[in-house]
Amino acid sequence: MLSRLIGYEMKAFGRILLPLYGVAIILSLLVGIELNAFSGSKMPENAFGMALILFLGLLIMAIFIVTVVLSVGRFYTNLLGREGYLMFSLPTGTGTLIWAKVISSIIWSFFSTAVAFIAVMIPVLAYPGTVDELADMGRNGGWSALMEAIAPYRSNIILAVLLVIAYLAYCIVKIYAAIAIGQLWSDHRIIGSALAYIAMDIVEAILLGATGIAVSQSDRWNDLSQVMAFTGAEVVAILMCLAGIAVCGFITWILLDRKLNLE
């Protein structure tokens, strides 16, 4: 059932995001062509190129904003708006409905990041001389030197990617928990959700602050700081995100499962 729900979410996101991705790629190709054709020109002559680059930047920002708005908006309208009458009539558990939203939001966030990266890289690679420089770098053993240089940090890079995923999931579930609290109000649900989010932020800051003070005042701080090398810090951060996901996920689940209020 989870995979079917994710499939449905993919369609709902895709109908809005895929056209934006298409426009971003086309615009980045145009910027690439323009940069290639008029690379010698200076500002007044190349105003068109500058305008294209500006539009591309704005479009990339718009893609990220729309991804966030969709992630939050679909949870609210699809589960707690009129479409909730359909979704909560499906023969599936509340947890499955929530997970489908979280997973599809993460997937689309990565798609948006990947498209933004591609949209930036196309003009960079199209800039005269870039490809030749990269090819030279390959011939001179630059690539293998680069790989050797980053080899000791491979585990850090993998952990950093996992941390980004965990933090993204935590942010999404935290917003969902705030919305789930907000739906307990008969009226002014959006205000209720916003207040719940602010309250959760305050609690989070207090907990993080208290944890930080406790660690820094500990006699073992010096040892800890040595033990907690970069890799250790990443692991701790991932575990904290997972704890946050567990707490916020439970709040969301219990409120939608036991206190659903589709008026």
Binding site: G84, L90, S186, N261
Partner: protein
């Protein structure tokens, strides 16, 4: 075992009591009218059965189970409002129902949509309100469910459409199951009802066999309803 059993069911919205101590037992193979004026608690009762609301106190059982994942497999629910994603096309909605409901009969749904000459390639938001309501009804009645919960299916539609809705319900429901129709337009559905439940101020005012009620009062159910709920 009763198909639906409510015991001392109470639902409050803040200080307002929507349902107050409902005890109700509804059986298989019956078409039941749930009648009452606006605000009497009809929609609240249906939403509680479908678990879109949680009761303040009391309990509900559907075929011996509390409302949840399992009971949603047994119930085909038609809410009193547009509830389908309006960006989806009728064909997409058929796929959706086929994907999520094992008892959905796609061929029947396609046949009904074709009879209504509804363009299956058209998005719901491009359809008229009446057409959207027909699509919703077709999807709901194309399931071979144990329980059909139909919340005000006749409200706000013209008399010709009402006839279509009533015929669609009668021709397509699973006769081994049960249909619970909430309405205040009794005269339109009186002829198809086996039982009636009158709700008044969140309480059961009456629960009778339709023929027995007519014999006892010497009136049609519609006339009796008007007498009971006269302003």
């Amino acid at each position: 075992m009763a198909e639906i059993e409510c015991r001392e069911l109470v639902k409050r919205y803040g200080r307002k009591i929507a349902l107050n101590g409902i005890n109700l037992s509804l059986e298989h193979q019956r078409i039941i009218g749930l009648a009452g004026p606006n605000g009497s608690g009809k929609t609240t009762l249906i939403k509680l059965i479908q678990r879109l609301l949680t009761p303040t106190s009391g309990s509900i059982e559907i075929e011996g189970m509390k409302p949840g994942k399992e009971t949603k497999n047994l119930i085909s629910y038609l809410p009193d409002r547009d509830f389908l994603p309006d960006w989806m096309k009728a064909d997409g909605l058929l796929n959706f129902y086929e994907t999520f409901f094992e008892d959905f009969d796609r061929e029947k749904a396609e046949r009904l949509l074709d009879q209504l000459k509804i363009d299956r390639g058209l998005a719901l938001k491009k359809m008229s309100k009446g057409t959207r309501e027909k699509v919703q009804l077709v999807l709901c009645m194309s399931r071979k469910a144990e329980v059909y919960l139909l919340d005000e299916p006749l409200a706000g539609v013209d008399p010709a459409a009402r006839d279509y809705i009533i015929h669609t319900i009668l021709d397509n429901y699973n006769e081994d199951g049960m249909v619970l129709i909430s309405t205040h337009l009794i005269s339109d559905i009186e002829s198809i009802l086996d039982e009636v439940v009158f709700l008044k101020d969140g309480q059961i005012f009456l629960h009778e066999n339709a023929d027995d009620l007519r014999a006892k009062t010497g009136k049609s159910i519609d006339d009796y309803f008007r007498e009971v709920f006269a302003c």
